[in-house]
Symmetry: C2
Subunit: 345 residues, 2 copies
C-alpha cells in the first residue's frame, strides 16, 4: 500500500466568512490523488486520518483576521484541525508505520505532515482513540487547565458551568465534583440536561432555553451565590452570572462558542459587580499551560480507568459529514464532543 | 470650651436618588446645637472636624440598595464620610484631647463618635493633615493595593491610567513610574493633562474629550499595547483599552466614578479580547487589603518625604461648600483629590 497512488477526499475551506459558519463555506473535493509515501529527507510522515475534531475555535480561523492567536485558514486549502491518525509511512525517526498520533492534521483521508511537532504519539491503551481529540486532547486540557489554574477551586465551592454537556464543560463539571464542589450546568435541550444529571453527575442542570429570566434561574439553583463560573458562552448568561457571583468569585472566560454573543451588539451590562464583589474574570487559552499537559494526561487517564469520569461523544460517520457536524456546533446540535470518524483503525 | 453648647452646622442627606447626585440631594442645616462632651461611660469621643473627603463611592450610599459592601445613608441624617478631626473630649482610653484622628466622621462641624474603631490616630508629622483622607487615606491605599496587589506590575510594563489626575489615579501613575513602568494617563481637561505631564511625571497624557476615537488614541500612545490598565471609569474607555491590551495584560477595575458608565445602557462590547489575549480583569476594594495598610503608610510617607511623590488636592473652603464639591466629582470639576476644609487646626 505504501508508495501507491490513491484517491484522497478532502474538505476545502472556500473563503472568509462573517457571522456563523454555514455548510456552504466548505466543500467536499473528490478525485484528488495522493502518493502514500513520506519523501526521503523530508522528515515528514504520511498518515491515514481516523478521527477529526470539530471545535468552535476553528470559526476564528475562517475570518480574515491575522491578529488572533491562531492564523486564518487559506481559502481553497484543506481545513486544518485536530485529529487522530495512523502513520502509514514515516521519514521521521520518532515514528514508525502503525503508530498512532494525535494533533493537527487535515480534513482529508490522508495527510502528509511536515509540521511533525504539532502531533504527539499515542501510547496504545484501552481508551477509545477518538478521546485523544476530546477528553485527552485540547478540549479536555482546556477544562483541566481552566478549572485548576484559572478558577482556583476550593472544596465546597458553588460552581456553575455553561454549555455544560459540551466537549469542555462536561469535564469541568466532573472535575469540580471530584474536587468536592457543588456543580450546576446549563445546556440547551432536555436531553442534554438529562445527561448532565444522570450520566455526568452534576448536582443540578437546567435548560436555559426554557428560562424566561436567567438571573432568576441562577438564584434558584444558587441561593447562596456562585463561587466559580466557567463561562463557555458569554452574552446574557455571563450578565446573569455576574449578578449572582459571591464575593471573591472567579469567572474563567473560555467560551469560543461565545465569540458571537460575547461581542454581541447588546454588550455586557453587569460588570459593575466586578468591583463590589471583587470578582476575578480571566480569559485563558490552554496553550499557555502546556507544561501541565503530561500531568493532565496521567491524571485524567487514571480517573477514566478508575471509572470516576465518563466522556460523551457525538460521533458522525464519514469525512463528508464534517461540514454539517462543524456547523451544528454553533446551534448546539452536538450532544457531547463532536467527532468525525473518517476511517476505522 | 468642653462642656459648652455650641451650634453645629450639618450637611443632611435628603433622600434616595437615582442617577448622578445633585446639590439639592443634600441640605445645609443650621441652628442645631451640640454639647462638646464625650459622655462618661460611652467610650466615645467628641471631635471638631477639620477636613472632609468627597469620594465617588459615596454615591453608592445615596441609593436605596442594601446589597452593597457599604450600607445606604439614612435620609434626614448627617452624611457620613472620611475626615480628619481633632479630639476635643474623650471617654476613650486611647485618645486624648488634642489628638488628631482620621476615619469615618460626619459632615458637620462637630461629631460625637461612638464607632471609634473606624478612625485611627494620626501621628504628628510634617505632612499636611488633609493628606490623611487622600494620599495617606482610602484613595491612596486604593492606588497602592490596586497597583501592587491586583496589577502585578513588572519593570518596563506599559501602564495606562484613566481619571489619572484624580485622588487614586495620580498615585497609581507615580507608583508605576517609580516601579520602572511607562505610564500614560487620561483626563478630561487640558489643565489636568498639563498636571499629569508636568507635575506628576507621567510619560504622556491626553484629554479624552478631545479624542474622536479612543481606540486610535490608545494605539498612538501604546503602539506596543498596554500591559496594565488601571480602570477608574469603565464604559467606552474600558472597551477601547480591551482592544489594546497585550497578551497576559491585567485590568484593575476600580472606578467607582464609573458606576454610571460601567452599567451604561450601551454595555461593554470587547470582552472577547479577554480570551485571545488571556487578560485578567479584576475588581477590588481596598478594604480587602487592610493588612497592608501599615506598610503602605510607611512606604508612602517615606516616598513623600524624599520628594519622590507629590499629591494634588482641590481644597474647598467651608462645610457649606460640601454639596457642590461632591457633586462636581461626577462631572470632573475637581482637579486632584477633592477635600473640604471645615475648620483650621
Amino acid at each position: 500500500m505504501v508508495g501507491e497512488m490513491v484517491e484522497n477526499k478532502q474538505v476545502i475551506f472556500k473563503g472568509y466568512i462573517e457571522g456563523v459558519p454555514k455548510e456552504t463555506d466548505m466543500e467536499l473535493k473528490v478525485g484528488n490523488m495522493i502518493k502514500l509515501e513520506a519523501p526521503k529527507g523530508s522528515g515528514a510522515f504520511l498518515v491515514k486520518n481516523l478521527y477529526l475534531s470539530c471545535d468552535p475555535y476553528m470559526r476564528g480561523r475562517m475570518r480574515d483576521f491575522q491578529g488572533s492567536y491562531v492564523p486564518p485558514f487559506n481559502p481553497g486549502s484543506v481545513i486544518e484541525g485536530f485529529g487522530v491518525s495512523e502513520v502509514l509511512d514515516s521519514d521521521n525517526p520518532n515514528l514508525r508505520p502503525g503508530d498512532l498520533v494525535s494533533g493537527l492534521t487535515g480534513w482529508e483521508e490522508y495527510s502528509l505532515i511536515y509540521k511533525t511537532e504539532q502531533l504527539r504519539k499515542i501510547e496504545p491503551d484501552d481508551i477509545p482513540f477518538s478521546y485523544y481529540v476530546g477528553l485527552l486532547g485540547m478540549p479536555g486540557f482546556t477544562a483541566y487547565a481552566g478549572f485548576y489554574e484559572v478558577c482556583a477551586p476550593k472544596k465546597g465551592d458553588y460552581v456553575f458551568v455553561s454549555a455544560a454537556s459540551g466537549a469542555v464543560g462536561q469535564l469541568v463539571g466532573q472535575l469540580a465534583k471530584l474536587h468536592g464542589c457543588y456543580v450546576v450546568g446549563s445546556a440547551g435541550t432536555s436531553e442534554k440536561v438529562d445527561i448532565l444529571k444522570n450520566k455526568l453527575g452534576f448536582d443540578e442542570a437546567f435548560n436555559y432555553k426554557e428560562e424566561q429570566d436567567l438571573d432568576a434561574a441562577l438564584k434558584r439553583y444558587f441561593p447562596e451565590g456562585i463561587d466559580i463560573y466557567f463561562d463557555n458562552v458569554g452574552g446574557a448568561m455571563l450578565d446573569a452570572a455576574l449578578l449572582n457571583m459571591r464575593i471573591h468569585g472567579r469567572i474563567a472566560v473560555c467560551g469560543m462558542v461565545s465569540q458571537h454573543s460575547i461581542s454581541s451588539p447588546e454588550g455586557q451590562h453587569n460588570l459593575l459587580a466586578l468591583i463590589s464583589r471583587r470578582i476575578r474574570m480571566q480569559g485563558f487559552l490552554q496553550s499557555d499551560y502546556l507544561h501541565l499537559f503530561p500531568r493532565f494526561l496521567e491524571n485524567v487517564i487514571s480517573l477514566y480507568k478508575e471509572g470516576k469520569i465518563v466522556y460523551i461523544e457525538d460521533m458522525h460517520e464519514g469525512l463528508e459529514s464534517g461540514p454539517a457536524a462543524f456547523v451544528g456546533l454553533f446551534s448546539g446540535k452536538n450532544v457531547g464532543k463532536q467527532v468525525i470518524r473518517v476511517a476505522y483503525h
